[in-house]
Structures are given as structure tokens and as C-alpha cells.
């Protein structure tokens, strides 16, 4: 598996949520690493589950989120960085 970078995850999320982001009147260009997907209404608390499953499905990875502070799950930069660092090829895990 080619390693996934923080930027890959961020790009995927921006594409995944592009319609919602646009519908909220935001442009993906404006979104920095501290952009909070929850505070801006792009996802809600249940939507985070959907977001995680979409990322894992897309990159064919599993990620153990246990060490992560839940408050940071919806921060675009923090989430992308965490996933890039902790991704495990899902074909290798049981």
C-alpha cells in the first residue's frame, strides 16, 4: 500500500463533502486545517460515523480512533493528519 498523506485525506474529504460545502455557501479553497466540519454544519455528530466509514472505504484502510480526542475528530486538519499517521491496510487487518 502506498502511504496515505494528510493531503490525500483532506482532498478526499473536500471532494466527499463538496456538494454540502457548496450548499453552505463555502468554497473548498477557504477551508484551512482548523476548519471544523461540525461547527459549520457540514457534518453532524452521527455524520462523523459516515465520514469515517467513507474514508476507510475509499482508502481501503482501518484506523483505530481510540487515542484521538473526539473533539478533534471534526477538525479537517487534525482528522486528516491522524488518519494519515494511523492508517492500516484493511486487507491486512482481521
Amino acid at each position: 500500500m502506498t502511504p496515505i498523506t494528510e493531503n490525500d485525506v483532506r482532498r478526499f474529504l473536500l471532494d466527499h463533502f463538496s456538494a454540502t460545502i457548496a450548499a453552505n455557501g463555502l468554497s473548498p479553497m477557504d477551508l484551512g486545517g482548523d476548519f471544523d466540519l461540525l461547527a459549520t454544519g457540514v457534518v453532524d455528530s452521527l455524520g462523523v460515523i459516515e465520514m469515517i466509514s467513507a474514508v476507510e472505504q475509499h482508502f481501503k484502510i482501518t484506523v483505530d480512533f481510540e487515542p484521538m480526542d473526539p473533539a478533534e475528530l471534526t477538525m479537517l486538519g487534525k482528522f486528516s493528519c491522524f488518519v494519515a499517521k494511523n492508517a492500516v491496510d484493511s486487507r491486512l487487518s482481521p
Binding site: 454540502t20 455528530s45 455524520g47 460515523i49 473526539p70 473533539a71
Partner: protein, 543 residues
Amino acid sequence: MAAEKQLLSSRMKETQKKSLTHGFLRSVEAFGNRPALEVEDEVLTYVELFERAACLAATLVQYPSADGPPLTAVFASRSATAFAGILGVLLRGHGYVPLNRKFPPERTRTMLLRSGCRAVIVDSASERQMDQVLEGIDSGILVVLPERQATGDLAARWPQHRFIGAAALASPEQWGPVEVSLDSIADLLFTSGSTGVPKGVMVAHRNVRHYLDFITENYSISPEDRFSQTFDMTFDLSVADMFVAWERGACVCCPSEKILINPGRFINDARLTIWFSVPSTAVFMKRLGALKAGAYPGLRVSMFCGEALPVEMAKAWSEAAPNSILENLYGPTELTIACTHYRWDALRSLSESAYGIVPIGEPFPGMVPLVVDESLNEVRPGEDGELLMTGPQLSPGYWLDPVRTEAAFVKPPGRNEVYYRTGDRVRKPVDRGPLLFLGRNDNQIKILGHRVELGEVEAVVREEFGVDGVVALGWPRTVGGAGGVEVFLQAEGPARPNLKQRVAERLPSYMAPRRYHYLPRLPLNANGKYDRDALIKHLEALP
């Protein structure tokens, strides 16, 4: 005359006794200074919440509409205004229609128009969408904004509507009790409709009353209890948290979305005793490592509803909440919140479960299940069939939609009662065993507990893309339903830019397709219908 008056008064007492607000009003008298609601860092006692609700109720009475149904919308979430608004609408004698700012404003407008509401109560966070929602509505609407002082700018922009801010609200003393028929609508909840238009399920006071009476007794709810409120008001399970708690003087603890991202912390910080959520929330907590053994000793009742409950989750939850009973509830909105229940038991339940799913158990007292074959004749014990159900929680049907009501609310051959066709496949128990949920009969799926008619997604995609051949699928498949929606189009690609965005503007985010796949021809099965199984295989084979 005097006898007539006495009769009327006793009848009024009788109806009030059973209307949705009866328990709340009794708790206002009995537990006035106890907390009724915690929301947005604010604690409201029963008296305080009543006064806010009575202000809104009296205001609504002051500005009656000449026409329109006895319904009022509440466009507010996770705020004091949301709860006071719902109570205010009910105290005014109307049914409430919850609206949700998480939904696209276009969908909210459709719900507002379809319900025919002539008044709406709005909180400050939802107010930002008000201009988009009002766009194109010509008939005058009363917009009550209890969190806003001046309303002049809105009135200038929308001369056809009337805006009432905090300063113009009536006082609580101006409210007086209104007689409510038990058959009148308590709430109108919109749910996904397969033809592309959401359908409104009418829930009568009588329906909710039956649910409340059973649950408050079954779980011995007391004023010491503290309830979670994980559901949005547009999700019918939210009715349970509020009104079960208020029936017995307990407190509803409503977390913000931000707090709800860490449900485990919320349980302990808010000192909850009663938990109610979709199983997906528990799955999420497990992923975050928040279901460690003994983590939530304060919980005494945990209820899950809205989608299939995996056995693994039930096990993990009962270990994390060792002092709590765990119940799996089941029920479509048309049967009011939930109508069957199953008590998880570490010893017995493993053998009673099938396919890794906890049984949905037995019907609430008074609810009558019927498991039928395709001709609606009852199947034999141990056989599979569609679950039909009747009883006091049976909804009167779909709002202004006799065609769809007639199709779903039926009299099976040889029966005199009307049953609701759930579309859910279950196994008829042998002897006194629990009902087992097996799946759906049609193209409805569950995403995070939300009902999604794939036909609705298909209808919206078909319209926006101008393509006839459209199939929506739930994908990836999960134990509880699906992770999201993906669509196949018989087309080379999108004809115009921004079409996906248009679709996302019309559907709630959990319904908006994650991926679009374009095929020159969609596969057909032997019956000439689109072959969904072949398309699933296509998704499985994707790199």
C-alpha cells in the same frame, strides 16, 4: 344546562388527562422547582419551561390564521426555544411539525408548504435559513422569533408575512387551557417517500399516550431520572425522551452537537440515568474506545431503536453500563416511536438472536402483530413474512395522502381491524419466543437509523440529471443497514456541471449519494427490472 356543563367539564378533564401535555402540566404542579430541561448551559425548571411555553401558546392564540389546519411548525433544534416551542404549540391545542436546519432549506420549505402550517416558531440558529425557506411562499405566515428583539428588517423584506419578536410575545398569564381531542394530531413527522416527496405521518395524542403509559410503568420513571436527548426533533424517537421524562417530573438533558461527538463524556458529565439512541451511536462509541467495562455505572435504563442492534454492541454496552437494563426497541413512525421491545439477557439472548442481530422481542401490551405472506394471510409459526401491526399506537395515516394511506394501512383478508404494513420481514415466533427482524421487503434502507427510501433518491437524481435510468443502492452494507447511498446512471456522464450539488441541495446529507457511477446500460434481471444484485456485485468488484 348545569348538568351539561358538568358533563363538559368532566369530559375536558378526561381528554386533558390523556393529551400529550397532561403529564407535563401535572409535573409543573407537583415538581415546579425541579429541573425539566438542561440545554445550552441553561437549566429550566418545570415552572420556567411552562412559562416560556405558555408565552408562545398565548402568542399563537393572539394571531390565529383565518384558514389552515391545526398545525404549527417548530424550526428549532437543541435550544430552549425548540422545547418551549413544541410545548407551546401543544398548549395552544395544535399539533407540531418539526423542521430541521440540517435539512436543505428547499426540503424544509416543502415540509412547511405540505403541512399547510400558517405559523412557525424559530430559534436564532435556524433563523439564518429563514430567508431561503420563505422564498416563494406567498400565503402569509406568522413567524415567531422568541430569541430576537427587533424584527423590522425581516418585515421589510417579507411584507406578506408577520414577524413577532421577544418584545411582542404575550405573557404566560394570557394562556388558558384548550380542549384537545385524543384523535387530533400531536405531531406530524415527515419521512422519506419513495416517489420523491417526503410523506407526513400523522401521530395522534391517543397514539403517544399509549406509548407513554407503557414506558413510564415499564421502566418505573421517577423525578430523579435524567434522560438523554440524542435525537433531532424531526426523528420521531425524540418524542419519547421529552414526554416520558416530563410525564414523571424527570429532566431532559439535551446535548449540543459538539457535546454529542463525545457521547461517553456526556453520559457521565450530565449524570444520565436513561440512555436512548440509535445503535450507530454505540458503534461509534466503541470505535472511540468509549465502551470500556464499567464506564457508565450511573445508567439504569439503556434503549436502542431505529435500526438493527448487533449482538456485539449489546454485549459491549451491557458491560460498559453494568447497572443498566438494555432494551432493543422496534417500531416505524406509523406505529408511534416503538411498539415492540426485547430485554437483553447475557445468558438467554445469545441463543435467541439470529444473524448477529438482537431480536425485536414482543409487542407492547395492546399492540397486535400479524406475520403474513404476500397475500396478507398469516404464516405458520417459525415461517418468515411481512410484519403487520395494529393497536392503539396505529397512526391515522399520511397527511393529505389517501392513496398512500390506503396502500400502507390495510385490512388483511378475514380481519376487521386496519393493520399497518411495516415492509419489514420478520420470523413468526414458535411458542412464546421473540420476534426476529430479518430485513426489508422493499427498497427502504436505514442509514444511521434514518429511514431512506431509495426511490426518493432515485426520483431526485432522475429529475436533476434528466436521465431515466437511475438506481440507488445502500452501500457499503452494514449490519444495521447501509453506510451511505451510491447511484448508478444509464449515461455517459453528467450533462451539466453542478448537478450533484443540486441533488445535495434537495436531500438531507445522509441521503445524498456518495458516488455516482455511469454505465452505458444498466443491467436488467429476468423480470426486466434493474438488476440491483448485479450492481451490488459491480460495487464489490470496484478496486
